[in-house]
């Protein structure tokens, strides 16, 4: 009984911000100020203005962010999984060192890197481009991915690879055909984690994409739209709502896969 009451109280506390956001996205400035929790004077007008805000094209922001998420995930899996396989299956000192080398990267905060990366990307002619951004974001996912994948592959019996090798399959084929399909839970975990981190990233797109490229992700778009007019609540609330609503709906529908996916790979790895 007390457990239930306590949990429902917590639910209320967790949801209050969402409630405030939602009701106020449909109210005028006066109603927001005078009665922030009430339901008086609902209107669709602020939402309409937020949708057509020249500072932040919501649809384009979503498209750009989605492209980044897909590109980073594909690249990250494509690069990290085979590397992790080699590391996990080799007893050579060389690869042990390589593992530690990658592991060190998990402790490097992204904010520390973003400034010097600007100069690296500039040298490569990739500054302010989708390519440069995707490559950098992918790199940030590599250390933890390789760590998790290598741990997971270690639980896959090596007999399977040897059997494939006896059948004459090369290493590449053994990996992609035999081992990789077995890594599904770990890959799912990483994809979920990377999706959240790329989707919600703020500093990296803000600095690497910059103003010249005209590319906004959902977060940098929200920043551009909200920070300048922070008191015009009829801009703040609808913009924030637009930024999170689709993602929340997606989360609620996919929650089972997301939450179980998060744990499946993590526990075994």
């Amino acid at each position: 009984m007390t457990r239930k009451t306590f949990l429902w109280a917590t639910v209320a506390f967790m949801l209050i911000p969402l409630y405030v956001l939602t009701v106020n996205a449909f109210k005028g400035q006066q109603d927001i100020l005078s009665n922030p929790f009430g339901l008086s004077g609902l209107t669709l007008e602020p939402l309409g203005r937020a949708l057509t805000n020249p500072q932040f094209n919501v649809v384009k922001g979503y498209a750009v962010t989605l492209l980044f998420v897909v590109a980073v995930n594909v690249l990250s899996v494509g690069l990290a999984a085979p590397a992790a396989y080699v590391i996990a299956r080799s007893s050579k000192r060389r690869f042990r060192v390589l593992m530690l080398f990658f592991l060190a990267g998990t402790f490097i905060p992204g904010q520390v890197l973003v400034i010097p990366v600007v100069y690296v990307l500039k040298t490569l002619g990739l500054m302010g481009t989708i390519r440069g951004f995707v490559l950098f974001e992918t790199t940030l996912t590599l250390p933890f991915s390789i760590f998790l994948y290598a741990g997971y592959i270690a639980t896959v019996p090596a007999v399977l690879d040897q059997a494939a090798a006896v059948d004459g399959a090369g290493r590449l084929r053994t990996f992609w055909q035999i081992v990789f399909p077995l890594m599904r839970p770990a890959v799912a975990t990483m994809v979920i984690l990377n999706t959240f981190s790329v989707w919600n990233d703020f500093v990296n797109p803000q600095i690497i994409l910059g103003p010249g490229s005209g590319l906004y992700t959902v977060t940098t778009g929200v920043y551009a739209a909200v920070s300048q007019f922070s008191t015009d609540y009829t801009v703040v609330f609808p913009t924030l709502m637009l930024a999170i609503a689709p993602l929340l709906v997606f989360f609620v529908f996919m929650q089972r896969h997301i939450i179980s996916g998060l744990t499946a790979g993590a526990t075994k790895g």
């Binding site: 080699v86 905060p109 790199t139 290493r171 703020f202 500093v203 977060t219 929340l248």
Partner: protein, 310 residues
């Protein structure tokens, strides 16, 4: 692959394994090289660059940065802003880690077990993680600001404004609270996963022996959760030490710069003040501190786990 096939066979008797080995060698390179190259170019070189820049007085764009040796590191130590930011960051990391893990483990125990209600609770506890820290900060500042939703209500009822974001102590506490609010759902999920690994038979046995709930938790569940606890603490710590987005959107570093974190200061110095060399020195220090703390925590926890098992 064609190249290896065209390679001249050496000793005919061992031709096949050698060919296979060479083919495998190439395959290994194909599998490891791209990730390694990207990692070196985009992560190791920048780290090296940060270290090099920390020894210069570069503003970020002019032609010739002057080499100043350790001057930036020396001025780090008598920079009052950094001292304050370092304290704030450590406080946020320590209190935040404690909060995330207490709430994470506590709620994991409360919502453990399969039921419709528990699924719902998990969703609600986890959902803030789906939102970016930037959005979370804007949202809470609209709710807790001096003219925000809560204070509006309070003043309409004739109360005093609550200085959530205008008093340094309040603002720091508010920031930590929001970080915990937004993040502990992840810890709940990770601890739930850890709880699956606790052998049910052990708990049953302890119950039958007449152990109280607390005794079961203390002597059976917690020791079995050891590795989960380590992972959770290290993850929380590493994440919180680089708190930046939330500072930007919730407090903008204020009031009076009292909620600036080290990550915030690094970007402020490097970009706003065009003191890239100085900012880089801060970066190098933050990197070292993060690695050291993570290492120490892992070591301590490992020792703790061993002690428990013995």
């Amino acid at each position: 692959m064609t190249l290896t096939q065209e390679a001249p066979p050496v000793a005919p008797a061992r031709a096949v394994p050698q060919k296979a080995r060479r083919r495998d060698g190439l395959a290994t390179t194909i599998m490891v090289a791209p990730a390694t190259i990207l990692y070196v170019v985009m992560l190791i070189i920048p780290v090296g660059l940060a270290f090099y820049l920390s020894l210069t007085d570069w503003d970020g764009f002019s032609a010739n940065p002057a080499f100043v040796g350790a001057a930036n590191y020396v001025s780090l130590f008598d920079d009052p802003d950094l001292r304050r930011a370092a304290l704030v960051t450590l406080l946020v990391a320590a209190a935040g880690t404690a909060g995330l893990n207490l709430f994470g483990l506590g709620f994991a125990l409360l919502v453990n077990g399969a039921s419709k209600a528990n699924t719902f609770f998990r969703i609600v506890l986890f959902y803030p993680h789906v939102l970016s820290a930037l959005v979370v900060g804007f949202l809470w500042s609209a709710i807790l600001g001096t003219t925000g939703a809560v204070n509006n209500l309070v003043t309409t009822w004739g109360g005093e404004v609550i200085p959530f974001l205008s008093d340094p102590t309040w603002a720091t506490v508010t920031m930590i609270a929001v970080l915990v609010w937004a993040g502990f759902g992840v810890n709940v999920v990770l601890y739930l996963a850890g709880l699956q690994a606790v052998p049910h038979s052990l708990i049953e046995a302890a119950r039958i022996d007449g152990a109280t709930r607390w005794q079961v938790f203390r002597n059976v569940t917690l020791p079995a959760l050891g590795p989960s606890v380590t992972v959770n603490i290290v993850l929380s710590l590493v994440t919180l030490l680089k708190t930046y987005d939330l500072v930007v959107s919730l407090t903008a570093g204020g009031p009076a710069g009292q909620t600036q974190t080290v990550a915030y200061l690094i970007l402020w110095n490097s970009i706003h003040d065009s003191r890239l060399g100085f900012g880089s020195a801060q970066s190098v220090i933050l990197m070292l501190v993060t690695a050291a703390l993570a290492f120490v925590v892992t070591r301590l926890r490992r020792r703790g786990e061993l002690a428990v098992h013995q």
